[in-house]
């Protein structure tokens, strides 16, 4: 079975601060990591490969720094990885991926990120609009050919919406299953366990897209030997949108990120007045309004 795992490089949410005065993200000390939800998707694929055999390919779209997550996926257990990358240009508030190999963006529109790539505007985590990412991933999967399953993590850690899997499935013309906590194969075929609440076995008609949510199976850690070998040549294939036959028009963003909307600043030490019953009512109302309970 040939499985493609769509992985993404995200900022570690714990390392991102919000500048209230500038109303934007403070990304100066932010660290980029492999999206934690994608590790669960990778784990589901590796478990399936262990039971039925096959090939696991990690696929990512990003700037040059995204090579790290492609290598990390290989270190964890993927057979190989593909990185769709290119030059980045800021255009009408959105970062646009140049599709040609030799196109370089004007220096004034780029902000260097340790010489590795370029950071998005600090009001947004988004490098590319979701429709462009979908098309790049779909084109890469079509280019691979003979793919049985495409797996994604359910949500991106910082600004995830959960829209990738169904959108990718629509672009590929494949069925999609969301909220799968695991995959299992028996004599009747491939099944996704959809849950975790009121879990059900849902049959998967291949080829299909499956979005994996964190379940009881914990993602594995990479073996030190695999970490060292992940940097061997040939394990990561670099592609540009031009290699995938995509023109700039196909990557026109369908959305434009705008400003940040911040709630009221946290104020500690407030006292809820009134009798106990009244105070309890106020507290429960506030917790419900803040969607904490």
């Amino acid at each position: 079975m040939r499985m493609v795992i769509c992985v993404k490089q995200v900022y570690d949410p714990k390392s991102v601060k919000i500048s209230r005065s500038r109303e934007e993200f403070d990304l100066r000390d932010a660290v980029k990591i492999l999206n934690p939800a994608d590790k669960y998707a990778l784990e589901a694929a590796l478990c399936l490969r262990e039971s039925v055999g096959g090939e696991v390919i990690a696929l990512t779209v990003g700037d040059a720094g995204a090579e790290d997550v492609a290598r990390e996926a290989v270190a964890i257990g993927a057979d190989r990885a593909m990185l769709v990358t290119g030059s980045w240009k800021l255009e009408t508030g959105n970062w646009k991926l140049e599709t040609g190999k030799d196109v370089s963006a004007p220096a004034s529109s780029l902000r260097p990120d340790s010489g590795q790539g370029f950071q998005p505007p600090a009001a947004s985590f988004q490098l590319l609009a979701s429709n462009a990412v979908t098309r790049l991933l779909a084109a890469a999967i079509v280019r691979l050919g003979e793919v049985d399953l495409a797996l994604t993590g359910e949500l991106g850690a910082t600004d995830g919406t959960g829209g990738l899997a169904p959108r990718l499935a629509a672009a590929l013309g494949w069925p999609v299953t969301l909220d799968a906590v695991g995959l299992s194969q028996n004599e009747d075929g491939l099944w996704a366990v959809v849950g975790p609440a009121d879990a059900r076995f849902v049959p998967i008609v291949q080829p299909a897209v499956v979005a994996i949510v964190p379940g009881p199976e914990r993602p594995r850690y990479p073996h030190p030997r695999r970490i060292a070998n992940a940097w061997n040549e040939g394990l990561v294939e670099f592609l540009t949108p031009a290699d995938l036959g995509l023109t700039p028009d196909a990557l026109t963003p369908d959305t434009e990120p705008g400003s940040l909307i911040l709630g009221p600043e946290r104020v500690r030490g407030q006292v809820v007045g009134g009798a106990i019953g009244e105070a309890a009512k106020t507290v429960v109302g506030m917790l419900r309004a803040k969607r904490v309970i």
Partner: protein, 331 residues
Amino acid sequence: MDLSYLEALMGGPVEETTAAAGGVWVVSPEGVLDDGALRLVGKARVVADALGAYVYLLLGGNPDSEAAQAAIRAGADHVLLASGVPALADLTNFFGERKPQVILFPRTRLGRTLGPGLAEKLGGGLCAYAADLAVAPIYQRVVAHQPVLDDAARQAVTIVASPAVVVMDTVALPAAFYEPWRTGKVEEVGLIWPAAVEYPHADVPSVPITLVNAAVVVAAGGGLKTAEGFALAERLAEALGGVVGGDLAALDAGWIGEEQLIGLTGRSVAPKLLLALGVDGDTSFFMATQAAGLIVAGQPDPKAPIVSVADQNVIADPTGFAGALLAELAR
């Protein structure tokens, strides 16, 4: 179509135009018209008023006409009833001819599946997770407010492609309208989609909730005084779907084990809600709870260290406060 509402809003006669014919659509594919779906209809009403459009509601799942009337009272101009649950191809065909301006889905599993797929098929713009909606005043574009960083902030996302497809989390939307004077049209569209399929049940081992991964932690302190007071904290944790921990005083009293101790010598916690009952708060406790999202404390002493650290304080006997909270949650 009843134009009285739009005419009242615009202060003069209004004619239905071709541009407005696309309208703002709410799709409830399962036919569920609960409070969340009615809130979504209300939000669609607000967006449609800003765009000068009508609100259409497509209800799948064999709904009755009473549900349609409830939707009209909540702001819908036109309710379309269909049978069964639509697949993506069905919805693509349905909307292909109608050229909607905006399509809203509730954030159910089916809504999350169909919304993004429909955006891709129709070539529209997508926000697959929005907590609120607005309309940009000049270009009349839909602006979705997308939660980021676990809802610590929201990102304004302007949808430039048409139709704008938005999957909405209805929890934070304002209460649904209830306007009995509204009139609207109810129509059976004659579409018969397949019924929802029931799949076999699966046993999934649940992930144990511990102090480290719990969304709600109730921290018990010496101020609870008795084992009965601590039992209230346990009941409160159960009612909130969280776990109970405690400070050194609770450990010394024998109410909690060492694995439940919150502090530098125990566990550090980062729940969305930390409810501290009878906890004075020492440095060790503060260091272990500094990543907590919201801290609510029940404490009789207004000069206790925790009062200045907690977001909300109830200066009262923690046992009585816990009982009042349980009674309020049971309502």
